[in-house]
């Protein structure tokens, strides 16, 4: 209940800030551009696809690559959205409102996290509407579509949890944004560096750490519980760390 109150306040404040609206606008423009470019290629290659057996459909050709590219864009904008959740409140000195109210640290962090996640889901819905509109005229593989979309949400939730943790470490939102961005970028780089490592075990480990690798499997329609759990574990780890960090503020150093 308290979590929900804090989450809705967070979401409300986000929508009252010009930052959130400009992010929504700019990102939607980029999503639309990628979507249309993908759609254009699909229409161009359609005659050739028609001759092929087992040819990729509209979902595979448009939605999946769109979601994969959007993951990178989410990576770039999430630090901007999560940066102020804790750090901003510290800077405004408004954190003590929550700390002296009868709510637990866990409720505060979960509220913040779900508030941000709510905003990100809005973005993801706006993204999904575009390929879904193709369903009016053509046929879509909804199983594949929603597996990919759910994968995207899980990925984005993990990004957000990392952002919340980074925000809980500092008083300056910009520092939180830079460090979140650094970690997300690093996780992405692990992905391609894994191809360059000769040692099979090492490359396997790097691959496992890479978030995008787990997302790719879901984007292909392969919904495995291992990947699902991977995202849940990453998110909850960083949220637990945030709770501990926020609690640490009170304690003796």
């Amino acid at each position: 209940m308290n979590t929900l109150t804090i989450a809705s306040r967070e979401l409300r404040s986000l929508f009252l800030s010009p930052l959130a609206w400009s992010i929504l606008g700019v990102v939607q423009f980029i999503f639309a551009y990628i979507f249309l470019a993908q759609l254009n290629t699909f229409i161009q290659v359609q005659p050739q696809l028609a001759t092929m057996e087992n040819a990729p459909g509209a979902t595979e050709f448009i939605a999946t690559p769109l979601f994969a590219t959007s993951a990178i864009i989410f990576m770039l904008v999430i630090p901007l959205i999560t940066m102020r959740v804790i750090a901003g409140e510290r800077a405004n000195r408004s954190l003590s409102l929550l700390l002296s109210a009868p709510v637990s640290m866990t409720e505060i962090i979960m509220g913040k996290f779900f508030g941000v996640l709510g905003f990100l889901i809005c973005m993801a819905v706006m993204l999904a509407i575009m390929p879904l509109s193709l369903g009016f005229t053509g046929s879509l593989d909804y199983g594949l579509f929603f597996s990919a979309w759910l994968g995207l949400i899980l990925l984005v939730a993990s990004f957000a949890a990392i952002g919340v943790y980074m925000s809980s470490l500092t008083t300056q939102p910009t520092v939180a944004a830079i460090s979140t961005f650094g970690i997300l970028l690093m996780l992405w780089i692990l992905d391609w560096s894994s191809n360059k490592v000769a040692d099979v075990n090492a490359s396997g480990a790097l691959e496992y750490l890479s978030m995008l690798r787990h997302f790719e499997a879901m984007a292909k329609g392969l919904f495995s519980s291992a990947d699902f759990m991977y995202f849940i574990i990453v998110s909850s780890t960083f949220l637990v760390l945030s709770v501990r960090r926020l609690d640490g503020d009170r304690l003796q150093r």
């Binding site: 404040s13 408004s94 003590s96 409102l97 700390l99 002296s100 109210a101 709510v103």
Partner: protein
């Protein structure tokens, strides 16, 4: 509420050292101290924003450290800087505060209206907090602290940065709050304490150095000297001859400060009229709270110094 042996260290700095005090129901307690004395740290500990290094905080019989949620529900806290979400309107902000303080949905509207009324926010309730003046923002902060009708309201320097009219209004509000709630008021402005509080505590360098009722404080402030002004120079010997006069200080221009053990004002007036000195002023000189404050805080530090010297 009772505070036992409350201690907080920041590294080697002992911000608050073994502070004990009680707060009775319906009492306004003034918490005085120079800057950096440990006032805010104490308040932050009482409100659960900081964990004490040692000590106990009992609120209405509930231990703050053992059952923080239950204890915090009994406390309203206004930090030095009001914790506001400036992008919300006053009403939206108070709705949020009501919810996180666990007020039931059915009682929310009533609680919010009551807080708005008491803090005089009726005219501005639909305006954005960021557009309000500092005084109104401070009132929103107070509204936030009393919205859940806590038994203890803790206000940390509530009148800092306000203009004299706003200060007067806030003090009036604090006195009203004192009728229903127990209030702890931290400040370094002494007349504020004289005007609003029932009891005074002075903290210096993390230690409680004075704790008494405001009457006792006023008593210790009672005059021990008179200021007299004459048109023609009086004879010192004649004045010194008056009963109870201990010593006379010449302030120039026929202005004298007369120290006494028991007020000789009447006798001075009679003597002055008889001798035709042209008495134009005769007034008791009150020790100001400032003087007492400096005395208490400085004597304590000299005491500490002497202890150190002995050691």
């Amino acid at each position: 509420m009772s505070i036992e042996h409350l201690t907080r260290h920041y590294g080697n700095l002992k911000a608050v050292e073994a502070v004990n005090f009680d707060l009775r129901r319906g009492e306004v307690l003034g918490f005085l101290g120079p800057n950096g004395a440990g006032k805010s740290t104490t308040m932050q500990m009482i409100t659960g924003n900081l964990a004490p290094t040692a000590g106990k905080i009992i609120i209405n019989g509930i231990d703050l450290l053992d059952q923080p949620k239950m204890a915090k529900a009994e406390i309203g806290y206004l930090p030095e800087q009001p914790p506001l979400y400036v992008e919300l309107s006053v009403e939206e902000y108070l709705i949020f505060c009501a919810k996180i303080n666990g007020i039931r949905r059915a009682n929310q509207a009533a609680a919010i209206n009551r807080a708005i009324d008491r803090c005089g926010l009726g005219e501005v309730k639909s305006r954005l907090i960021s557009n309000l003046s500092k005084g109104y923002q401070q009132r929103v902060g107070i509204a936030q602290a009393i919205i859940h009708n806590p038994s203890i309201v803790i206000l940390d320097e509530p009148t800092v940065g306000l203009d004299p009219i706003q200060i007067r209004e806030i003090r009036k509000l604090i006195r009203e709050l004192g009728k229903e709630h127990s209030v702890i008021l931290s400040t370094h402005i002494l007349p504020e304490v004289q005007m609003t509080c029932d009891r005074v505590q002075i903290i210096n360098k993390g230690q409680l150095v004075f704790s008494d009722s405001i009457e006792c404080l006023n008593q210790s402030m009672q005059a021990t000297s008179l200021i007299a002004q004459f048109e023609t120079a009086p004879s010192m010997d004649a004045l010194k001859a008056i009963n109870n006069v201990e010593s006379i200080e010449d302030l120039g221009n026929n202005r004298l400060r007369i120290h006494y053990t028991e007020s000789p004002a009447k006798q001075i007036a009679i003597t002055a009229v008889n001798a035709n000195w042209g008495l134009t002023e005769l007034s008791p000189e009150q020790k100001s709270l400032e003087q007492i404050f400096v005395e208490i805080t400085s004597s304590e530090s000299t005491l500490e110094q002497s202890i150190k010297d002995v050691a």
